[in-house]
């Protein structure tokens, strides 16, 4: 069983929902990524998404675009990224998900990339530009190696929710708002409706986690209340990383993580 699946079983048993964080590897440098990971783990994060930068991140808002550009300028390469994952794996068993764009995997070959990533300790993948229609080779390559986490949107039809839920493993990622990552808006009623609808369709077959624009403990609280099995916080972490000096990074991240994690405990 994958680390991600085990984690959701463990959380369920202890009446918790998942706190999932997204950070960009190598932003602003590899040393700070390690400090951030330590802060996240100490703060009680359940799953970590590690972004690998792509030159053209068309599903991302300004915060992650900027982090991608800086990470690439700092020389983030696949081999260095894998070394970083190895170092992280020495310190923690927290499930690690690699989030990037389809071309990065396609270019190396889906099978080779996924197996190399699995060897260093990656447990799953999120590719925001991989539609279920084009995913045959990707899913086939990942089978028995890593989870393939797919996204659904509040405008996804029930028929597609079924189709996507059938190929998504680990969890299902609900995009909370129409927009790119990191866009702050009040919680929409259409998102709450989507959570309820998807849960009804899937009958708890796969955990449902909500991301995009989730940035405060209050956001976490409200999505948890609506029935989400987990939340994904990304740009809010990157904003802290952007403005915090290296020596305070770990404690700042730990504190913020704790404030979010608190809201995932079932009342």
């Amino acid at each position: 069983m994958s680390r991600i699946k085990e984690k959701f079983i463990e959380l369920k048993a202890s009446n918790q929902r998942a706190l999932i964080s997204y950070i960009m590897a190598g932003f602003p440098n590899e040393k700070s990524t390690l400090s951030v990971i330590r802060g996240l783990v100490k703060g009680g994060v359940d799953i970590i998404e590690l972004g690998f930068p792509f030159s053209d991140p068309l599903a991302d808002g300004p915060t992650i675009q900027n982090a991608s550009t800086i990470s690439l300028e700092k020389g983030t390469k696949i081999s260095r990224f894998f070394n970083l994952v190895k170092q992280i794996r020495k310190e923690t068993d927290t499930p690690l998900i690699l989030m990037t764009y389809s071309n990065i995997l396609y270019h190396k070959g889906f099978s080779k990339f996924i197996q190399d990533a699995k060897k260093v300790g990656i447990d799953g993948f999120i590719l925001p530009d991989m539609s279920v229609e084009e995913s045959k080779e990707y899913i086939h390559s990942a089978k028995n190696f890593a989870d393939t986490i797919f996204l659904v949107s509040p405008n996804t039809s029930n028929k597609r929710i079924n189709k996507i839920s059938n190929v998504s493993t680990g969890f299902l990622y609900l995009v909370a708002v129409f927009g790119t990552t990191g866009v702050k808006s009040e919680i929409k009623s259409y998102t709450i409706d989507a959570i309820k609808n998807i849960k009804k369709i899937n009958k708890n077959k796969i955990p449902l986690c909500v991301g995009f624009g989730v940035s405060t403990p209050d956001d976490v609280k409200r999505y948890v209340k609506a029935g989400a099995d987990g939340v994904i916080v990304g740009s809010a972490f990157l904003k802290i990383i952007e403005k915090t000096p290296q020596d305070q990074l770990q404690t700042k991240i730990e504190k913020f993580t704790k404030s979010l994690k608190k809201e995932t405990l079932r009342k």
Partner: protein, 395 residues
Amino acid sequence: MKYPKNGKFGEFGGKYIPETLVPAIEELEENYLKFKNNKEFKKEFNYYLKVYAGRPTPLYYAKNLSEKIGGGKIFLKREDLLHGGAHKINNTIGQALLAKKMKKKRIIAETGAGQHGVATAMACAALGMKAEVYMGYKDTVRQKLNVYRMNMLGSKVHPVMSGSKTLKDAINEAIRDWITNVENTYYLLGSAVGPHPYPVMVRDFQSVIGKEIKSQMKKMNKKLDTVIACVGGGSNAIGTFYPLVDTDAEIIGVEAGGHGLKTKKHSATLSGGSKGILHGMMTYLLQDDEGQITETHSISAGLDYPGVGPEHAFFKDINRIKYHSATDKEVIDAFLMLTQTEGIIPALESAHAISEAIKIARKSKTSESIVVTLSGRGDKDVEEVQNYLSRNVKN
């Protein structure tokens, strides 16, 4: 390939898109399929092409140029004479009409050289709509007259500061806007690129070019030996080539060779690229050995793009169409030669095709016919060419 199943041209094309866009893409395809053979829609489209855009465009025998070269006969398909000065209007009228039928209130577009942005602004003004156009900051500087034109036509230009600040980044930003405003917005894409159904839809709207060439050559009783067009995203080229792929004609697409294919400063995706996924499609891309998209260079902003339409990728792989390239220097030479022999100032994009035509004409017999699509006029480029010439005189 008439209407590609699942949007695939062989292994190319497809729909590599964020899930939020799927309903919008499905709605677009459904409406496109509904209207493309609808009598009323076709009538309206043809009406605007004729009395608004100025179709059919002439097929002009470039006698002076041909005689100067002393080989094959060069014919120019004069898309430069269309309203707005480029072939882009064929597609923008078609898509703006479709957007109107779909009752979309908001139109967005991307533009490189500004030609598609201007053509979008014109079609929207004519049909009582307003557009917002994303344009790389670098392009807003080198094509600032087109920015003024778009503003005057009532459209809003958003300069894009991300990435290389050129066409690819303008497409990224337009897609981000579309994801955000998916419920009321129509994305009017300007080239035969992007997720299905854009490549096939843009091809169909541009195919009027190739169809006219076919009937004009027939009327003149000429056999078509070679047909040439420039390729960036490849909309004028696929519109020229698609109706002619079933003939015996040799077909050549010409990419931007920039400083030469051996340097990294070019935009010749099919000649110097490899397969990959960008902007919703599988196609050839200019990328590094990690799959990161690389920065491109071309003297013409309209060809400065690291991808190419997926149907071109398909025709390259099955060897039906050849893809060559022309360097910046060859393009300037062709630009000047056409200007001086025929009194026609071509767009720098189109001058790539002229350059290839000159090479082919030199090797062919006077009985052979070479048709070149002159996709746009060069008024927008005279400053760029003047600067290039001044630099080279100094050197």
